[in-house]
């Protein structure tokens, strides 16, 4: 499972770089690519998603990492994405190919909620 996730991340990264390169002259893309490089991670600490709200450009792969001693999940309210149960230090990645607001929560501890805004 981890190998599949890693491959997916690698693919998305390669694709993203190629995509940015192809349209480098388009004006707003370098800024978008910059943001993507900085903030595509959601860390799970102390039963909360950080950042709770993350804004990313279309095509970004977001990776969740569970840093708690207790397992968590990241499941979209609309069932668009659903991680396996993440034990300590396990990761889950999802690539957002369409703009929109994606609200999600931990299906084990539903008080834990977060939001990915894809622009």
């Amino acid at each position: 499972m981890r190998r599949i996730v890693s491959t997916a991340v690698l693919f998305a990264t390669t694709f993203g770089v190629g995509f940015a390169g192809m349209f480098a002259g388009a004006g707003n893309l370098p800024a978008a690519a910059q943001q993507k490089a900085d903030a595509t991670e959601v860390k799970i600490d102390n039963f909360s998603f950080g950042p709770a709200e993350l804004k990313v450009p279309v095509g970004t792969t977001v990776t969740w990492t569970n840093r708690d001693d207790i397992p968590h999940t990241a499941v979209s309210n609309d069932k668009i994405f659903k991680s396996k149960v993440l034990d300590t230090d396990e990761k889950f990645s999802f690539t957002f190919s369409k703009p929109g607001t994606y609200e999600y929560f931990c299906s084990i501890h539903p008080k834990m909620t977060g939001k990915i805004v894809v622009q």
Binding site: N46, F47, P71, D87, Y104, F105, P110, K111
Partner: protein, 322 residues
Amino acid sequence: MTEKSKDELLHDHNHDGVDRRGFLKCMAWAGTGAFCVMQGGVLKSYSMSNMSQAASKITAGQLSFVQISDSHMGFNKAANPDVVGTLKTAVDKVNALSTPAEFMLHTGDISHLSKPEEFDTVDQILKGATPKDIFYVPGEHDMLNDDGKQYMERYGKNTKGSGWYSFDKKGVHFIGLVNVLNLKAGGLGTLGHDQLEWMEDDVKHLKSSTPIVVFAHIPLWSVYPEWGWGTEDSAQALAYLKKFGSVTVLNGHIHQTMQKVEGSVTFHTAASTAFPQPEPGKAPSPGPMKVPAEQLKSVLGITDVNYVHGQHALAVVDSSLA
């Protein structure tokens, strides 16, 4: 449950005694231990040092059972690297009770990650317990990834729906509920429409003098909703039990003992056999609490419950593993 009673619990849970509105709550870290007897809706509590005095008030041999909870088999972090050892100690405690338990309830989180080998290990250890009958309800950790399919195969043979059921022992009616499935974003534990409907029907024909014991993983009272320690639709379930003179609700999930009496209902949460969690709001999150190794067994424990015919009294005793 009123907002006010919630507030009282939140802000008063770690104090002793009776509050102005007549509720008596006793919360005890398993390390200090508490022995509680409910008679006519009044809960009397004794410290562990007065155990012999309290024990003499119970007539042995009517109905005695044990609740264990939150074994979290597979957990191996700093808060307790040896959950096998502490579960074995819990079994030793059960086997050493002066009034032998007739059966056990396990109020969920048998496993930590729903792995088959975790369930196997718990089953193997619990085979060493004197009481041979064990009644389970699932915790959220037992139904990860497969919506409870494996749990149902292992423990759900004689149950309804996603694992709920009832049974009778010596005139006491036991109801096992499932409130860990289909949890909604931002929400608490959930029983759901089908289960509530079944429960209404299950108790409809019982005499109001029948003592009722309800057991479920997540508390059926609002212990601390901010941490998800409560059940969305528990008020509906409790409404079906209003006519009964003696209702005891046993839960796990919060890894600490806590009690509260509201009308004819006594709520009780059991300690974990694996690791302690912080008191409500006393830490940034409800994650496992690391205590010095020599203190660990004092914050883990089992719950021994005695019922005496004719008195409508259930005596709930928490014992630490120390």
